[in-house]
């Protein structure tokens, strides 16, 4: 039987870094509806990196114009920087969220992407048979999810079937 569990957040460790973006991403390929998930596994460290256009996270991609939009941006910042409800793994893997790298994108006239990165330490990585990208449940109008998986023995690209959240790591 496989149990799901929510990742624990080690509060007060200050691991979640929320830095305002000064980076320019002009050369980054950006297509609406397409979300990329990068999964890297080495030893006990599992790293998940999400790359999603702002329009699929917020529903809009310009600077917020009213309170509702400002709230939406703030809610996403809190959610993505906390790392809660982002992804799930088999309970037996005993993973704990270790750090979050989150830089809020600069919303302006151009394109913007959310690229949070989560690092987990898993006590029993052998049980890591899959990862589920729960964040997709909150994303909007995602048409394609491309998943890149790398580990000591494998490098692979998969596309998630529509409606599916699960990425096999085997």
């Amino acid at each position: 039987m496989i149990h799901y569990f929510k990742f624990l957040i080690c509060s007060g460790l200050g691991l979640a870094a929320l830095v305002s973006s000064a980076e320019s991403l002009e050369q980054h390929a950006h297509s609406h509806g397409a979300v990329t998930l990068n999964v890297a596994l080495e030893g006990q460290v599992l790293s998940l990196e999400i790359d999603a256009p702002a329009i699929n996270v917020l529903g809009f991609e310009k600077s917020p114009r009213n309170d509702a939009e400002r709230q939406a941006v703030a809610a996403v910042d809190t959610w993505l920087s906390a790392g809660r409800d982002i992804a799930g793994v088999p309970r037996a893997a005993e993973c704990r969220l270790q750090s979050v790298t989150y830089v809020a994108p600069k919303l302006g006239s151009g394109h913007a992407d959310y690229r949070p990165r989560y690092t987990f330490r898993c006590a029993n990585p052998a049980a890591l048979e899959w990862v589920e990208l729960w964040a997709l449940r909150r994303f909007k109008d995602v048409e394609k999810v491309e998943v890149n998986v790398i580990s000591a023995s494998m490098q692979r690209q998969d596309t998630l079937a529509p409606g599916s959240l699960r990425v096999s790591l085997k």
């Binding site: 980054h28 490098q155 692979r156 690209q157």
Partner: protein
């Protein structure tokens, strides 16, 4: 058993038709199995060629393009990577090792690759296999070369052989670097990858042989720089074709890939080889499926041919059936006789199809190796192959039920006097 024996004797009586039917089935099965074998063999061949390399970096072009020219020596680079950018990335603390690659010259149809000693140290293929030397050692001197197993075999080279590198690619090149000959100092063990078809020299050697070349031509006599004078020059290359990167931690691979792809000083492209290969298979997958469908229909046509042959023979064989009945065969014996016939035709067809398929693959293998540097290992029959072949025989038995049923009906009504 008796029925099988009878069916065999009956088929032997009609051996021309039977052989043609077996041929038709054999060809269609060979095609189907061939498509399947080539597909899996090509995938394994590609996947086994490079392993343990986290990133491949080249000039910004396409993922597949970079993968194909850097690893498989298929196609050419559109641009180079500057030495400064290479050095900067190679010195990054997250980078464990790098293998520089410089392509563009050839030796009697084999590609020449400029690299350094790290190539023999870090490159892995087919899981975790290292490059090993069958004889000799890695290059040390400027004009040392290490040749792959196939190069050594085809051109008869061994340690100590002198070789001349040609400028550019192609079997017959008029522009030769014959003023700076190389000495073979090492022959590699066979790897089953494009390494076998590569001549490896040092990066500085690539610079040295081009030191007095301008716009694809050697400088006129008088301003040429001879082999020994070139040693005194600074032979640090200004650019390389691509380089492979091994990361300290695989977890940093994506971050490094992004950093390289967004590198501002130079348009660079970093790819993860396995990911690029997945993309290639996605692309080729459509053609694969189309081929499989075509092959499946050819098999169906083959089986229909068998059905036609058996059905048309039925009328001629009414007497045969009647005689069988007269010596005590029951209608169900006649039924199983015809099913057995179909089964035997199909089994013989499938068996010879498998033989033809393996024969063709082994015949085509050297050609594919030579033309594309791809090594096909068809392997044995997998469970999937056996399932396909079993399904073909099953379909044949099912089809055989049609003439069997008709013969059964005939024997019930015909008796010994046949009204034709």
């Amino acid at each position: 058993m008796k029925t099988l024996h009878l069916a065999l004797r009956s088929l032997r009586n009609r051996r021309a038709t039977a052989l043609l039917t077996i041929c038709a089935i054999a060809i269609s099965v060979a095609l189907l199995l061939g498509v399947e074998k080539m597909r899996s063999a090509a995938r394994d061949g590609f996947a086994n060629t490079v392993s343990g390399v986290d990133l491949i970096v080249g000039a910004r072009s396409g993922q597949l393009n970079l993968l194909l020219y850097s690893v498989f020596r298929v196609g050419d680079a559109t641009a180079n990577v500057s030495w400064e950018s290479y050095q900067k990335i190679a010195r990054h603390p997250d980078v464990a090792w790098t293998i520089p690659i410089s392509l563009g010259d050839s030796h009697r149809g084999f590609r020449v690759m400029g690299t350094n000693g790290d190539y023999f140290k870090h490159y892995r293929f087919a899981g975790d296999r290292e490059i090993k030397f069958a004889s000799g050692k890695p290059f040390e001197d400027l004009y040392d070369a290490v040749v792959g197993a196939e190069v050594a075999k085809q051109l008869g080279y061994s340690v100590g052989s002198k070789i001349v590198i040609a400028h550019g690619l192609g079997n017959v090149s008029f522009a030769k670097h014959d003023d700076k000959p190389f000495t073979v100092v090492g022959v590699l063990e066979r790897t089953g990858t494009p390494i076998d078809r590569t001549v490896h020299v040092g990066l500085q050697a690539i610079t040295a042989i081009h030191v007095d070349w301008q716009s694809g031509m050697q400088a006129p006599p008088g301003s040429q720089i001879d082999a020994d004078d070139a040693r005194a020059l600074d032979l640090t290359p200004t650019s390389i074709t691509a380089f492979m990167v091994g990361m300290e931690s695989k977890v940093m691979t994506f971050t490094m890939q992004r950093a390289i792809n967004e590198y501002r000083q130079e348009p660079l492209l970093a790819i993860i080889p396995g990911v690029a290969l997945s993309q290639l298979w996605n692309l080729v997958g459509i053609a694969d499926t189309a081929l499989m469908i075509v092959a499946a229909f050819v098999v169906l046509a083959g089986l229909l041919g068998m059905l036609t042959a058996i059905l048309t023979s039925l009328n001629e064989r009414r007497r045969e059936m009647a005689i069988l009945r007269s010596v005590g065969a029951r209608p169900r014996h006649v039924f199983t006789l015809l099913i057995a016939e179909a089964g035997m035709l199909a089994t013989a067809g499938v068996a010879s199809g498998v033989a033809v398929c393996y024969g063709l693959i082994f015949a085509a293998r050297p050609l594919l190796e030579k033309r594309f540097g791809i090594f096909l290992d068809p392997g044995g029959l997998t469970g999937y192959d056996l399932a396909i072949l079993g399904a073909i025989i099953g379909a044949a038995l099912l089809m055989g039920a049609l003439p069997a049923w008709r013969a059964y009906r005939n024997t019930l009504s015909d008796g010994l006097t046949i009204r034709v």
